[in-house]
Subunit: 289 residues, 2 copies
């Protein structure tokens, strides 16, 4: 299938390469010449503009930094420029309202579109093991699934348009709050004189158990291998967690939802990023507690 | 073994009955005549004063409401009144400092003592399926283990004196924060138009997974059977969660630990209890979000 790919950054570069490996003819576009060079090395055809890349595409995949850019790129260079009937898949993490607005604009021009943000970092993008949370109609999901499957290990239909973004930011809001709660709990346990391995053995089998503890433990040497064992490098950058928490706060405000723990987590990650630690793995916030 | 049991309330009554079932000669004491009558029906010998109950005991088990009462009862009526060499097991949930202080007083008088707070509610106390988190020396733990095993399904050595209390309040602080974060996330998901079963299916297998979601889901009809399916009745009362969170805040203050999510959870459960919902299961806080 001829697939246009817009946005060849840290995540998009690996994703486009996996589409090539799956046998697709990938037509790549990015503002960065270096990113285009890498895409070419990975087997993509490269184009200087989005309009050229999408001109002949059966599907358009985008991986862009924020909602304003997604809105602008689809509005100016994709809708009306891609062939009639092409499928659009936006894998960026953006706000729910913009996701719904762009899909509506695409549908008005007789395209189908899904929002399909990912869970998993750069390693998963390169390895083709991302999880996609997809919002869109049943028909759009059915068309999107095999394309996404070439880039991931799981493709989940979360509901109608915007549901992919909603599911992602809800999950990540809970993750951010749980991570900080887990970090402060380990620090309190340590200060109260508990051996942290012993506390892990107790709490991981009790009602304190959570993914941040048992799959991504923020304490070096305790639990499974995690960024904590590597000086809090790699993994999921605190700045990206902050981005997701801000999207969650925007979404909560737009529907009058009360999210006190999410708010607290957002303000703590904001302070953490402001102090220059945005590039550190998000579990590194334990150092501030 | 001759075991004195002090405090035959909602929890202690069932625990004492399980000691009788295990073949111990239980010598029970409580301020409430009704509690003593029930203990008698369950096969305990009953005594009007603590001093009488402990006079001939090889072990003393206590299940009392707070640290001040534990301190007063052991100081006035147990230490020096129980036979030399008796083992003391305090199963109350109290502050770490008082637990250590009472144990120290007992040791000064040549008794051994463990702090052994429980996880599990009234049903687990009656059914003998509590989990005990035990603080004390190796020798005291070895002596305490078979007695506690008669009342529970798991007996865990958390460390030295006070470690049982520390492990419990750390775990429960994390639980309280995780429960509220889980509740607000489900409410946000709902308001954003997600189907809650679908969101559960996604997040319970992703990085938002936590015990409050997957073992005690606060949404009726979603996840395993839980108090949410029973109008938030039964389970673990919000007032008891608040008690544990207050103990955690005291402990954090005493060791200069920073616990922002625990603090937020404590203030939210305080408001919930103040509004008359202290008797509701702690997952009922979802109704306020």
């Amino acid at each position: 299938m001829k697939v246009a790919f817009i946005g060849l950054g840290n995540m998009g570069g690996g994703m486009a390469a996996n589409l090539v490996k799956a046998g697709h003819e990938v037509r790549a576009s990015d503002l960065s010449p270096e990113a285009l060079d890498r895409a070419k090395d990975n087997g993509c055809a490269v184009f200087g503009t989005v309009q050229e890349a999408v001109a002949d595409a059966e599907a358009v995949v985008s991986m862009l930094p924020n909602g304003a850019i997604v809105d602008a790129v689809y509005g100016a260079d994709v809708i009306g420029h891609a062939p009639q009937g092409a499928l659009f898949l936006d894998c960026s993490t953006i706000d729910v309202d913009t996701a719904r607005k762009v899909t509506k604009a695409a549908e008005s021009a007789d395209y189908e579109m899904v929002d399909a943000p990912v869970s998993g970092g750069i390693a998963a993008a390169n390895g083709g093991t991302l999880t996609f949370m997809v919002g869109g109609t049943d028909n759009a999901f059915a068309r999107a699934e095999p394309i996404l499957a070439a880039m991931g290990k799981a493709v989940i239909h979360a509901g109608a348009s915007g549901a992919g973004q909603a599911a992602k930011i809800c999950n990540n809001m809970l993750l951010g709050a749980s991570m900080i709660a887990t970090c402060e709990t380990f620090k309190l346990a340590e200060k109260l004189g508990l051996d942290l391995q012993t506390f892990y053995d107790i709490s991981s089998k009790a009602s304190g158990q959570n993914w941040s503890m048992t799959s991504y433990c923020p304490v070096p040497g305790v639990g499974p291998q995690s960024p904590a064992d590597n000086g809090y490098q790699g993994g999921f950058a605190a700045a990206l967690m902050l981005k997701d928490l801000k999207l969650a706060m925007e979404a909560a405000a737009s529907v009058d939802a009360i999210v006190p723990m999410g708010e607290k987590a957002a303000s703590l990650y904001e302070a953490f990023a402001r102090d220059g630690s945005g590039g550190m793995d998000f579990s590194g916030i334990i150092k501030t507690l």
